[in-house]
Symmetry: C2
Subunit: 263 residues, 2 copies
Amino acid sequence: MRNVRLILAYDGTDFHGWQRQPDKATIQGLMETAVKKITGQPTALCGSGRTDAGVHAANQVANFKTTCPIPCANLVRALNDILPAAVRVKEACDVPLDFHARYEAVSKTYRYRILLAPVASPFIARFVYHYPYPLDQNAMQRAARMFEGEHDFTSFAAAGDASEEDDNGLAHGTPPRGNTRRLFSSRLRWHGKSSVLIYEACGSGFLHHMVRNILGTLLEIGRGRMKPEDIPPILEARDRKLAGPTAPAQGLCLWKVNYRVRP
Amino acid sequence: MRNVRLILAYDGTDFHGWQRQPDKATIQGLMETAVKKITGQPTALCGSGRTDAGVHAANQVANFKTTCPIPCANLVRALNDILPAAVRVKEACDVPLDFHARYEAVSKTYRYRILLAPVASPFIARFVYHYPYPLDQNAMQRAARMFEGEHDFTSFAAAGDASEEDDNGLAHGTPPRGNTRRLFSSRLRWHGKSSVLIYEACGSGFLHHMVRNILGTLLEIGRGRMKPEDIPPILEARDRKLAGPTAPAQGLCLWKVNYRVRP
């Protein structure tokens, strides 16, 4: 038996998210079908976490068990040969049998792209949220930094949805951690040449819709409808209604998943 | 009566090219429908030239006549509001009544992108030709330069297709120029960071499939199956069969259309 780890990139535009669903195009469903076709074995593909419909990934990590002896380099080519161009296997490698893409992820980095140009180029339109309005970027940056550290992110989790975007580090037997997560960094970067404002957050885990809700709130602050100083009381209140709206999926990209280095 | 010039960008992937066709999605057909919806007047949209199915444009130029008084800035917004994200109006402006997007174009620039990376990122896959094979770029560059100057490009025109990709400068009464065109520049540029090789040609006009046939030939040279020195005799022979295959449409982009400055 082998355990194969895949690194995947996908354009989520035309998919109903990561998670397998009957009769719907999903990344997990598509990948499981492809792996079965190449290895000849039905297999469950375990992802580092779910991504929602329309959300992209530059480096999603997943693993599957198989007895198929095809070398990893050939697996990459064979899978890419039958996958649509919107989904690519960037890398495959053999990992220890007990590696688990979800339980062992220690942090994740998400990026959210906001395009401020008056007209959205069709060459990047699928991967940005087009928001051609004046924004107070200094206020947004100050607010973004306020999410750094450990917080209860209930106010920024999908309302009425207790499920988690991911369960990093939640191996069997780990006590539940509620809605508390640690963001190691939460920043904005301005790419003037392309008029793209990138929000990047690296954290121990993310609740469902958390990045998109943070973004929706930062945009309210950018427009002057909320203030950076509103963030701490909103976090404390643990009330989804106090934060801004959920920003659209298309600007969001799962950028990187980090794992502990094994001894 | 006004004459409005539009600058358009489009992702050609899901279109059957520029030219209006019954029951097929084309850029011209889509734009004419959109213009009619906004101005309330049926109108013929004149493009600087046709682009084939799957070919993109960063700055296609087109014009239409109308008596509709909507200011240009509002036209841009109104058209973009009803167009799909794959087609964008970048600019609209009032031009003299006798401006003609096709007859007055004096040169055009095309770009063709070849992605050499082993795996094609889904974020650029629609806009490149994925060609993950070793290429002799020096030989390709020497060959590319041999197309500069005035040549009869019959060997690089679509076989059995006398039509032209465009008719730059062919105003009424201008004598036909057969298959002779002048390339002001024909070069390759290597973007190592993204593993993209860009071919750029600026010329007085381009025959149907001309850039793609030049590319197909340059790739043969890059693989060592043809030599740069083969180009002059191929041009002289005026025989399509001697040149390389037609490279796929998806790597091609109409980059810029140049017009004479009016006195």
